[in-house]
Amino acid sequence: MSTAESESSLSDIEKSFMEKAFCYAKEALQNQEVPVGCIFVYHNEVIAVGRNEVNQTKNATRHAEMVCVDQVVEYSKTNSLKLESVFEQIDVFVTVEPCIMCAAALYDLKVRSITFGCKNDRFGGSTVLDVKEILKPVTVVQGGHRADEAMALLKEFYKGQNPNAPASKVKLKKSVE
């Protein structure tokens, strides 16, 4: 595991990228979405920005990272760049450890690096299932930057209820039909 806990390992410019990801996480919170923010950096330029938009789109796969992936696809088309080689030079900055779905997607796209804030105890792509161990990706992953802050945002969200989830879920005894 290459998840370093030290903040100082990030350069000033990397810290500024992380700051930008936090702005999008806060925007998610303001919009009653799980507060995760993400930016994709290509040749030191931010080419995709995103936040969780699951409730807004009624689509549980619209995590910040997936929103950014779609923007990179557009970016590559617009600039007539080869999609594969763009992804291979992308550095991902995201406030929370990517979930199993997003981690697998980013590894398959062969992004260069992922820098995240706090761990994701519910769905994390290394905490809950070690996706790296299965896919053996080239991607370098490091976590722990402003972790407390990222976690505080999540806690703030989960204090209130997810407005889109069905009310008081009665425990259904094994789905027998």
């Binding site: 689509n59 796969t61 992936v69 779905m101 299932l129 094994k174 027998v176």
Partner: protein
């Protein structure tokens, strides 16, 4: 694609064997065993007294699924760390009258945990009598008898639609990698959404992801916005595909029930909410990304045709069985296997 030939449904007898539930290893493997000390009771008349005495002086909390006696033999304690020559000493310390026993202590292997299936029970019960509460649903899963032949026919029909979609994509877009998928609401037996891999233009647009996007389309429009509320919502099925499927699968039902806002829902199960209660039929085993997307979307059952080298519902791992996740779905593999295998041939 335009052939007017209707797709004939095969007799389901042989396919029951092909449709394999992908279940947890602890339902398939033998129950783990543990070594325990046993002794023989001198006089059978004292059996019930010995059981009561021993249960109060030396209860075995981890092995409450086991009966204390087998014939005249009585279970004393797990082997754990104590030596065979120390057992009677321990019983005396616990104020148990060892004169009831023959002092013929042996080590036997017994079930370490309660058996989960009848097959497991039958095996471990021979070692030492054991309590067992059969779970009807689990029994149907492990014996692969969950579905009636009518239900199997239905599942095959939906999978054949997924195969058709994959072929449609293959021919229309000259795409080599063709995976098809169909999302069904089993409550109304209707096709809610469809998808096929679109990875040529977006590497993450696998068939599953496209289908989930299409399910979302059905929930973005509110019932209050539509004039004809008696009709089902068709926004999860592109028009061209609807036409093709209608033509080939006469009498099938298409569309989802209309999305209701939380405030309009009486019962939580009324939904629709994400893919809650829905089934997905996939020609190929989904990858990690797609399998986890189905967890997030709270799908109920996943049927796939053939394994994928990067598959996450049996091949590389079993995402649907990860204990720490907040949602779990059931997986069945091997549906219309030969048709799905045909998709891999160019």
């Amino acid at each position: 694609m335009r052939s007017s030939k209707r797709i004939k449904l095969d007799k389901p007898e042989h396919s029951q064997k092909c449709l394999i539930p992908i279940i947890s290893d602890d339902l398939i493997q033998d129950t783990p065993l543990i070594d325990v000390y046993v002794d023989t009771i001198n006089d059978p008349k004292h059996i019930s007294k010995v059981i009561i005495d021993l249960n109060s002086s030396l209860p075995i909390l981890d092995l409450t699924h086991l009966k204390r006696v087998k014939g005249k033999d009585i279970l004393l304690c797990p082997v754990d760390s104590i030596g065979i020559d120390q057992v009677h000493g321990l019983l005396k310390i616990k104020n148990f009258d060892t004169s009831y026993l023959q002092n013929n202590i042996r080590v036997v292997s017994v079930a370490k945990i309660p058996p989960k299936t009848r097959t497991q029970y039958n095996k471990v019960n021979k070692y030492w009598p054991c309590n067992f509460h059969s779970d009807k649903y689990i029994e149907k899963l492990v014996t692969n008898t969950l579905f009636s032949s009518e239900e199997l026919c239905e599942h095959e029909k939906f999978m054949k639609m997924a195969v058709l979609l994959a072929n449609y994509r293959k021919i229309t877009y000259k795409d080599r990698k063709c995976v098809g998928s169909v999302v069904v609401d089993p409550k109304i037996k209707s096709i809610v959404a469809v998808g096929y891999s679109n990875a040529l233009s977006n590497p993450c647009e696998h068939a599953t992801m496209v289908s989930i996007n299409n399910v979302a389309q059905t929930q973005l429009s509110n019932i209050n916005d539509v004039p004809n509320k008696s009709k089902l919502n068709l926004s999860g099925i592109p028009e061209d595909i609807h036409t093709v499927l209608q033509d080939k699968f006469e009498g099938s039902c298409f569309g989802s029930t209309w999305f209701k806002d939380k405030s309009e829902i009486g019962q939580p199960s009324d939904g629709p909410y994400l893919c809650t209660g829905y089934y997905i039929y996939l020609t190929h085993e989904p990858c990690i990304m797609c399998s986890m997307a189905l967890v997030h979307s709270r799908i109920k059952k996943v049927f796939y045709g053939i394994n994928s080298s990067n598959g996450a519902l049996g091949t590389l791992c079993k995402v649907h069985l990860l204990k720490d996740l907040n949602h779990h779905y059931e997986v069945f593999a091997g549906l219309c296997k030969s048709e799905c295998e045909g998709l891999n041939i160019l």
